[in-house]
Amino acid sequence: MQKIITIAKKEATDSLGDKLFLVLLIFLLMLVVISIVVASMDFQNKVVEYNQSVKILESLGGGADSIYAPQFFPLKMLRSVVDYLEILGAVIGIILGYLSISKEKGKNTLQLLLSRPVKRWEIGLGKILGNSFVIWLVLGIAMFFIYGIMGFLGGAQLTGMEIMKLILVFIFSYLYIMFFFGLTSILAIKFKLLFNALLISFVVWLVIVLIIPQIGDTMDPDNQIPGGFFKAMNIAKSQEKQIMGNFKNYEFVRNATEESSITKHYERLSFALLGVKDEYNGKTIFAILNDKWWDGLWVFLFFLAPLFTELLIFEKNNLLINKE
């Protein structure tokens, strides 16, 4: 155990001292702050609009019962935070995974590590734990920023339930980021040229994080016109469902495309927990998880697979086979 901690500690200090990592962290925090500011301004605009409408209605002599006051759900403002964790969080995972292997490979220090009385999987586990700590630190700082800004901007106090939901989102964010960490580590171990490993990781990142969700998004018939196709057609929700019922195959392909990406699963679950879609607002964590357990399971499996493989690769005897 002592040895695992030694490796984990070194791993964490190495990563925290890396400039590229720090730049990415700053980017991420910057985007988190901006996106929350945007969301809160957006909400304040809605409040102003509402108050104006109420005034107009009252001046006309009518009551304000016919329009709804915009409801404030502070967690909803975190929608873009999830978006940025999807994109930049994954890149952070890639960079950490890459660094954790590249620092040993080019310098032949892997031989030194392996010739110590340490079990091979302990080295792998040490690396995973060290970087998990770093990722939790990143998420912790992000959480701190979020909490601070929300209090500062709107004086929004999060309820216990909301804090629990937020923590759950962050746990899944950790699982999500670690998927990319594990994937890149494996590739970096397996590939003769580190550069190719990094390249493939970024290609996978592009495809999973950006392209697949983008395809799903652009194929959505409702997204063909700014503001929504069905809205432009003046169609009610019930009618829309009925019409779309005739296009099951198309919708199936679209959905299957999205299902193949861990990002989409992570996004669906997080959005539900944050109540980005109003139907989930006010629901308990249990009810949401009951509805979205499928997505949670996928994120968890995506998380486990590469890390488990990494430990297995470390344990097997072929780490150096590329050398000759």
């Binding site: 730049v23 980017f27 080019g106 310098k107 580190l194 950006l210 063909q224 003046n234 019409i243 296009f247």
Partner: protein
């Protein structure tokens, strides 16, 4: 300056890049992108038209008299390619970084750089040759993608493109070419400048992230998913003093946003803005920085892993 040496380097560069597996891979990816965007455009258009017909039927049966128009009816034929700018902006630029990067790192790694620089060639000539080679490769890739796009549009729409549409498609690929050059030059710059191989790749990546995601967030305040969806570019952005001012100050320099706007103007024909300023500034900047660092490049410190 000897034109012959520049030509030798450029020719060598073109040859090695084309012979490498990387080139075949990049070309395949590009052609796939072009074909794929045409396919998505076609299948979406097809389905939405059917949905439109179904909707109209529904509206008639419920007694509505005023029928909305099919949104695809007025769309220009090139609009089925509307995903292509997103792919160039995401995948293409990343690939361009790699082309620029590998063109110099290869020499550094093989240690050939010492041999080259000990010949009768100035460093500027060497760099000019490299850049020419990169231009050739990128234009080959973009050229072939243009041909493929052209034929897919003709086949899908079932009619020959009129001259003005063909010109627009050509202009779109020209702008894309310039956009790619920017990133290839960034890759080249860091390959010369950075001390280690991984930094040479990761540094331009970080800039790529900044240009592609951070800047647009500052200027448009759109959430990142909308940034990638070609239709939502025109959607309404939140109004506030902060963002009106950041937009005013930064938008002329947000080259990724400007590239998308120009592309949409050519392909979808509904924005009609050509903010070419940032593209020129970035081109000028990224093409000159390799020349600034090549002179200071320390040949004795080339050993990189």
């Amino acid at each position: 300056m000897k034109l012959l040496t520049v030509k030798t380097i450029a020719g060598g560069e073109f040859k090695t890049l084309v012979r490498q597996k990387t080139f075949v891979l990049l070309l395949t990816i590009f052609l796939f992108m072009a074909a794929f965007s045409a396919f998505i455009g076609w299948s979406t258009k097809n389905t939405v038209t059917k949905i439109y017909v179904a909707t109209v039927r529904e509206l008639i049966s419920s007694g509505t008299k005023k029928m909305p128009v099919n949104p695809f009816l007025s769309a220009p034929p090139l609009s089925i390619l509307k995903n292509m700018p997103t792919y160039v902006f995401l995948i293409g630029s990343l690939l361009a970084i790699i082309i620029g990067y590998s063109s110099f790192v290869r020499e550094r790694k093989a240690g050939v750089i010492k041999i080259i620089f000990s010949r009768q060639i100035s460093r500027v000539e060497f760099l000019l040759g490299k850049i020419t080679g990169i231009f050739l490769v990128l234009s080959a890739i973009v050229g072939l993608s243009f041909v493929l796009s052209f034929f897919s549009v003709v086949i899908i729409s079932g009619q020959m493109l009129v001259f003005s549409e063909m010109f627009k498609l050509l202009m779109f690929y020209l702008v894309s070419f310039l956009y790619l050059i920017i990133f290839a030059m960034l890759g080249l710059f860091f390959a010369i400048f950075a001390k280690s191989e991984s930094l040479a790749l990761l540094a331009p990546m970080i800039i790529w992230i900044f240009i592609s995601f951070v800047m647009p967030q500052l200027t448009s305040a759109l959430d990142p998913n909308s940034l990638l969806n070609p239709t939502s570019i025109q959607s309404i952005m939140p109004q506030s003093v902060f963002f009106t001012s950041t937009r005013f100050l930064l938008e002329p320099f947000s080259v990724s946003e400007n590239y998308k706007t120009i592309s949409q103007s050519f392909l979808q024909g509904d924005i009609k803005e050509y903010p070419i300023f940032s593209l020129i500034v970035y081109l000028f900047f990224t093409m000159s920085i390799p020349f600034l660092v090549i002179k200071k490049f320390n040949v004795c410190e080339v050993e990189i892993e």
